[in-house]
Symmetry: D3
Subunit: 285 residues, 6 copies
């Protein structure tokens, strides 16, 4: 009977257990601090579900998911509404993954989940570089009086790694203070996604790179299913090519955040996310 049945739920092509995997895929379905439209908690689930609509083989890279060994660990169990405890749990999972020598690949959830993951990766890679794709600068000191927020996450990351090691691409929204901070501290590329990459890759050659990709870096035409869509972004093709370009660096961790399925009945946002996860695994591992 076994051969007639298929278990549903995981990302296509996962190996059967954690031990044999080189990549650990983990969902972090937290959406407690978002300011506009919540719902990214449904993101990891839908990204997995629609992944079966894609192939495991990438014609861009002439490589298939069976060439990388990844395990879909499921989602971090989170206490609804408790931000601090949620971040702690994500951190503990990320640290374990890193300590086990596996490549951490997280799916949000809101962008704040990047903070504990970078913290865990940083423990292992002292000279970590962070490449940040996003429509929003996310560099506030606080948002509505909260220092832990989806709008402050990159400022928090700048507490973990040297701001000079933070590269921000595609940014087209924020308040003046964020851009002033970026000008003096990080490397920010307004509205540019693919163009600056070759130069950046040269700069960070040989150093460990963590990539955090907020799906809203892409224009809402291509990724309408997100919490704070910001018109004027790049195309799906551009972000796919950006991932391919970064295949030339030493990438040590990756997250893709802010997919919010309910605003996209076509499911194309989750399909783009699933495709980016596939290309990321095939490019970085």
């Amino acid at each position: 009977m076994r051969e007639l049945l298929e278990r549903a739920g995981g990302f296509m092509g996962s190996v059967d257990n954690y031990q044999e995997a080189d990549i650990a895929l983990v969902g972090a379905p937290m959406d407690f601090t978002v300011s506009f439209r919540p719902g990214t908690r449904m993101g990891p689930r839908q990204i997995r579900t629609v992944s079966v609509g894609l192939e495991e083989y990438s014609v861009y890279l002439n490589r298939s998911l069976d060439a990388v060994r990844f395990f879909d660990c499921g989602d971090v169990s989170l206490p609804f509404g408790n931000v601090q405890e949620s971040l702690d749990r994500i951190f503990r999972v990320a640290r374990q993954v890193v300590q086990d020598g596996k490549f951490p690949l997280f799916l949000g959830g809101e962008h704040l989940v990047t903070y504990p993951i970078v913290k865990a990766v940083k423990e292992r890679y002292a000279d970590l570089v962070v490449v940040h794709f996003d429509a929003h600068a996310d560099l506030r000191l606080s948002y509505e009086d909260q220092s832990l927020s989806h709008a402050t996450v990159m400022r928090k990351v700048c507490d973990l790694v040297e701001p000079l090691n933070v590269y921000q691409l595609g940014i087209r929204s924020g308040i003046k203070e964020e851009f002033d901070y970026a000008n003096e501290n990080t490397n920010m590329y307004i509205d540019q996604v693919k163009e600056p990459l070759s130069r950046i890759i040269e700069e960070v050659a040989g150093r460990p790179v963590y990539i955090t990709l907020d799906i809203d870096v892409v224009d809402p035409a291509y990724a309408p299913g997100t919490g704070t869509p910001e018109p004027g972004g790049c195309t799906a093709r551009e972000i796919i090519e950006a991932i391919h370009l970064l295949g030339g660096s030493t990438v040590v961790g990756f997250d893709l955040v802010e997919v919010s399925p309910v605003y996209d009945p076509s499911e194309r946002t989750a399909l783009l996310a699933a495709k980016l996860v596939r290309e990321a695994m095939l490019s970085f591992c």
Copy 2:
């Protein structure tokens, strides 16, 4: 030019300022502790918006909103993700409303917002009775380790008022512990909404009554736009009649919670909520 323009945004029929009002309508757009589908933060806004699709006159009661003086105060400004501070702010607003001698009418947001409102109302009415319409018992001690949750709110309310003064109607979901607690402490009517009301009204005659109405007490056919829909509920007509029946009691406060617009493209959940708000104002004030 003035006479040619209309300002948009508020609930139909609001008077122009707080001072002259007998009822204060307040939105509490918090949705941080929900477990299934977030989005009730958009509830108050949509209830106001669709209210213009209704009339100010109720043929059921032969009375119009101009007969009651209510002011739409707008929404409580909330720090996203900070549960405690959010509840504090709601409490401060509710207390002020009560102290000003006005009838508090709150729109959620998630059900947890009822806790600080009841707390404020209880300060004034020592012998407060709470009538609770809901599909869920909401009587847990904690949910996912959190004692402040949409699933614990009525247990928290039972810390404020005598559990024996809590009447729960329409309940059809929960865990065993909640029903055990209810059996011993509160007055719970499984799956019944209108039937027990005449008896309850008799029991509480002369005492101050607070009503909290979770829109999911109604069947999802009538109110699909909610976070945790539970099939098997009452009809729209039944809940309207229940409000009319309670017009015979001394109602001193009212909230309507858990409207989540994004799951209802027909907007009928918000329309039902707006109609219930109108009938509540005309019945209780």
Copy 3:
């Protein structure tokens, strides 16, 4: 090749030409005077489209559409935004249908289209009775200064037929003036749909009856796809039974109005409308 192809577009079971038909089905896709949500112009089209999801046979009546000969004439071509000219054209089509001795069966569009149809039917039946199913009284003298409006249509009808010959069922919304007028002039049944029918049928025995059915008489749970949904209405089963009951009268014309597809992704409003059209044809002809 012919036998392998099917032409799409018309209501299921139409005969091939107007001449041989006993019933003329006509769409009147006008939605210019509505106050809340436009879109009923798409109604006739969707009612036809989904009709293929039903059977031509009615088990309730043990009769099939091939027993009545109806022709789907298509839609009246309307000049967008020109209310008077649109009503004129609808009148001319309706008059021709009546003069040709056929049963007029119109699909709205907004409720105002009933006015010219009744005018045409009245020319033939001097003692016409009008039975009106609706959530709204539609008895205003004017609405936003317009005397021709979906909110005034029944008042206009009362200029055509004796108000005492107008029976209004299911009404649950309006302004005080409308109910005052109804009390003195028409026969109005607040919130009742099926209950008063046997009495009405007795009263109008032997007289010609025109039926106008605004789909919002049904609760938005059953008919969410409409312009001004009003919670608290009857069920689909009740309105089907009401049509069956009226089969005992001498019905000489029928319209079904206010289906607005875009608010109902499930298409069940149009399906209910198509089923009511089938039951009406099988009951009245």
Copy 4:
């Protein structure tokens, strides 16, 4: 790390392996022969997904899913478009489940999947009774020249079991030939769902009963997410009570079919299905 993670995808409360289970829950995501709107292949997946929005405990029955031991086997893997091979595979899985002494509980998919399941159950229970909840008679000999179709499934079932042992409830659509056949062969209750059950239960006392529940027996207001919605059905509460009533019989198998998620953005159809699955497991096992 384990304790911080949860695997997603299965129906809530499943035990960890097939061997220890008393009930085998199997998805049959086939939708190849439907005539109106396809999409039920997504049904099993969504029913599982939304099941987490419910509780494992039923207050109606005062019993929880941990009292029954069921295993979610996943979906039968089906060759797209190949009807015969698909039915064969479903049959092989169902037969294995029955031979292993487990209670078969299948989720459709389209209604035709019931045929191979009943065939498998009949092998074990020679005097099998079939109770059929549906809006449609499904008694055609063929549909569009196909004898294997969602519209012929109950006629095919009548080849397996004595037609006199087939009880059909809630039926309100079909062609004349179907009702003629039913009158002479099966036990059909037009438009009635709960009313005839006590009598039926008496009639079949002591005999093995298989239940097939097409979700469209319920009115589209309560279950819009289905392929051929038929207005005029029962309420969610009625169908829940029907399941409870049948708890008094010896039920030996159950399927729930025709949930089509894409037509129901509110997810309430799948929620009702999940609740019925829970109540069925708690009532029958």
Copy 5:
């Protein structure tokens, strides 16, 4: 209590009263003459609502909305279905705004609303230039026998200003007569949006420019929420840049029309509109 509350409804960053404003933002929610899909009457409301999802600061222009003083006047109150009276009211409001020396910024509603606004602006600026972004030429003499129509608006504008002063960009749909007229009278750029702008800006240097922007100039991928989407348009980024380029001209009025929310559950059409309004205010004032 004041400091805890926020009034909802207006465009983000509005000043508190009309008198102190340099820009008057006015909604004109008319959609009576459209031929395909109505619904733009909901446009102004949704543009305001989603504006809170953006920032008041524009990183493109390094300028924030607090640098311009604008007042959100609300919507012109319109008699449903009465085209002429509606246009009169819009004209009266626009004329008052112009006479008060404020920059008129109108939100449609359908495109016909541009006619009375241009009429009012032309009263002050005799040598007015009109820059028109649109997928459609809108140059018909009449449409379905109506001379006042969303399809004739630019022809009507050509009655107000010299056709040679009308510049039409992005046009890709119309009938032959419109393009013949354009060839002989106006300046039309087929399918081009940004390219011709520098030349145009040079041509009109020093003269007052009115800009009318039909959101369907953008491809439906970026702006699906509109009445007559026409595939093949420009990107969101291009139209944003076009606004920035026009900042080099003397712009004296602006409208953005044809946003129809119901066709865009992602809300990105309204978000693009809100962003264009922000960039327009920051570029032109």
Copy 6:
């Protein structure tokens, strides 16, 4: 009365009968072998319906549909679930059209319908060239054990025409075996749509060309309403220009497949399809 009515349902601008037509437009609403999301059976109907939102005149080509004589034949009647019989019927209709000397223009349905159409066209044009726009290679030998599948269609076409005469553009998804086959047999252009066309047109000059266009060649941003959307495709403008370029070849047949309306509430996928049909008719005939 005639002049006041319009029959609905067909593609805009159709002539009145088959005999006088040069082009036969036929729907093939089959969706039985698709693997991910069914629903393309609704495609032909919606493409026709929304075509009225476009003009008959193309400004790109300065030509109107009245210059070509096409007849909308309706849809091929298909037995649900019977793949072989369905393909046979489509073949018989296509062959008749070709034998009658008319240009075959088919609307899918799923991509497998292309196989019988090419078979019919090949009977007449021995040296047929096939130009294939698609995101997917569709070159599998079998899919889920089925050799007749939407994923094998181009491999089946390679049985009909020389693989070397097959040109595949825009391809960005498939399994390794498909690309290996393509490398050795067909002409495949990964991810390129417009670029290779001039060279191809030169190569095939003077030879009969059949074009099959799977709408998913376009990015899901522009065409979300399809069964297996694949992020990273071309824009609407690019595919329109590709059709224009092919106007320079001797095109003898055309199909457009895989439009699935339910996933696109904005209807822009069907609008793009209708526009491509118009441009194809005006370019090729």
